[in-house]
């Protein structure tokens, strides 16, 4: 009885999802990162290299704290988050219909397929000079560029997902008198959703990467710009502080996306296995 009780508690603890995990669980999951931080701190404190090349973790954390008080870092973090998220969402809205209609309509496939095959492997950041010329210097070129970069993986994933919809699902839906319109909304779209979200999970880091890199190259605020400014002032603590915030931001956005996925695909086998 006692055993089954603890098992039940453990199970609810895991499937709760939103509950804050215990420190032990965090330690177990991220011990390699913690180990790295400890080694870093020790190396930095032993003065093997100058603090300029490798500031200690504690001084970086202090730097983050100080910069946060000055509101610089908060503003730049907000700016980067806004750009990355907006690009990601716009890309989702554009790419999903393209992907689905590519799979369903021959003419659209004929039009987009070559564009996608050429455009996907092209590094979108190389469009930056042109985008600056076209869209100016502040938000717009960065958002457009990141949107462009995110569109390709989502289009491809959606297209493949739509092509791979189980033919028996389509047959039985048609056999029950489903109109083409309902077929799209009630069968094809939900059946494609897992793949769409795969594409989204690939696109999210791309969005952050493109936004950061274009901020580094063209200024106009944001975390990429924050790092470049700090570098110009030879302020290595701030460079690392910016880096730290970027990696935390990327991690958080990815985690949020994972939660959204679990929520949307609550019917999916993968989600249910996870919670068991």
């Amino acid at each position: 009885m006692a055993v089954s009780d603890t098992q039940a508690v453990a199970a609810t603890g895991r499937s709760g999802g939103l509950a804050v995990p215990s420190p032990l669980v965090i330690l177990k999951k991220y011990y390699s990162v913690l180990l790295l931080i400890i080694v870093w701190e020790v190396v930095a404190r032993l003065n093997l290299v100058t603090p300029f090349l490798l500031p200690s973790v504690s001084s970086i954390l202090k730097g983050v704290y100080k910069a946060t008080l000055e509101a610089d870092l908060i503003r730049d973090t907000a700016l980067t988050t806004y750009r990355a998220l907006l690009s990601f969402c716009v890309a989702l809205v554009i790419a999903v219909p393209i992907g689905i209609s590519m799979a369903r309509i021959r003419v659209i496939h004929w039009f987009f397929d070559p564009i996608v095959s050429i455009g996907f492997p092209t590094p979108k950041i190389s469009f930056l000079p042109i985008f600056i010329l076209w869209f100016g210097l502040f938000d717009r070129p960065k958002i457009f560029l990141a949107t462009l970069a995110c569109t390709f993986p989502i289009v491809t994933a959606t297209y493949l997902g739509t092509m791979g919809v189980d033919k028996y699902l389509l047959w039985s839906a048609r056999n029950m008198g489903t109109s083409e319109n309902s077929l799209l909304r009630k069968v094809i779209f939900p059946a494609t959703l897992p793949q769409v979200l795969n594409g989204a999970q690939i696109a999210m880091p791309i969005s952050i990467i493109v936004v950061i890199v274009s901020e580094m190259l063209m200024g106009g605020g944001g975390l990429g710009n924050y790092i470049m400014v700090a570098q110009r002032f030879a302020d290595s603590v701030s460079v690392f502080a910016g880096l730290l915030v970027i990696s935390v931001l990327g991690y958080l956005l990815q985690k949020i996306l994972e939660k959204v996925r679990a929520l949307v695909l609550h019917w999916h086998e993968e989600t249910q296995h996870e919670s068991k």
Binding site: S172, A173, N175, L193, E269
Partner: protein
């Protein structure tokens, strides 16, 4: 016996792109469906029995010949509905929403379609599982959902494409019995494709024996008078089984000889 569907001179030819050949899947099929009968389409694999089922469902069209239902199909009346071996349930819908899918497509109001769905869920003995998702169910239960979903469309004919072939022997037995009871309760016409002789004898009223490629109707065996519940060990059933086995063996033999010649 009331005729509800006439298949006349139906031929289906497939073009196989890879080899550039034409394959005669069905050749001049003549067949009548009677109201409320349990018709078995039996034959070796590749005899076109599933193709025939597809023509009946309207998902595919014959190359020549015709299929005529006495009743007309319209928005609120499906003539046929298919139960596939692959279940083909919508994994993002719960059991009740799967069953209510057909009524939903016919724009039946929510409460009415749930009431309807509930009735069919009870009929297939799945009460209590309404809010489960398909991947939380066993194969046998999924096939019950598929059957309830087909029934909820209230079609004239329910088509079965080897629905129990993927299940274990135990579950198959149980479901065979339930199928017969649901058939006698609903008075629907069942057209049932199988390659299992036992299944044909246990379930069917008429058995349509098909020859291998090109698929033709070789013989129609009427076993409606064998009393139910049936068993594969009763005298009459054993006799029919032996006869079917002989036919099928001859067909398989024939097709294998032909393959060797090619």
């Amino acid at each position: 016996m009331e005729n509800i569907c006439a298949i006349r001179n139906l031929t289906k030819v497939f073009f196989v792109e890879r080899t550039g050949e034409y394959v005669h899947a069905l050749d001049r099929i003549d067949l009548d469906l009677n109201r409320s009968e349990f018709l078995i389409l039996l034959g070796p694999s590749g005899c076109g029995k599933s193709t025939l089922l597809f023509m009946l469902s309207g998902l595919d069209h014959p190359t020549s010949g015709e299929i005529t239902f006495t009743e007309k199909s319209h928005d609120n009346k499906r003539l046929t509905c298919t139960v596939f071996q692959e279940y083909a349930l919508f994994p993002w819908r719960t059991v009740i929403d799967n069953v209510a899918f057909g009524p939903e497509m016919r724009r039946v109001r929510k409460r009415a379609r749930y009431r309807e769905a509930e009735r069919y869920i009870e009929l297939v003995n799945l009460t209590g599982f309404e809010t489960r998702f398909p991947n939380e169910l066993s194969g046998g239960m999924r096939q019950r959902v598929a059957l309830a979903r087909a029934l909820a469309n209230d079609p004239e004919v329910i088509l079965f494409d080897e629905p129990l072939a993927a299940l274990d022997a135990q579950t198959r037995r149980v479901l065979q019995t339930e199928l017969v009871s649901i058939w006698s309760k609903t008075k629907k016409t069942f057209v049932y494709v199988t390659h299992s002789l036992e299944e044909a004898v246990l379930l069917g009223e008429r058995i349509v024996l098909m020859s291998s490629r090109p698929g033709r109707v070789k013989e129609i065996i009427d076993i409606a008078d064998i009393p139910r519940p049936r068993s594969t060990t009763n005298e009459r059933e054993v006799k029919v089984l032996a006869m079917l086995a002989e036919h099928i063996a001859a067909e398989v033999d024939k097709s294998m000889r032909r393959e060797r010649e090619l």
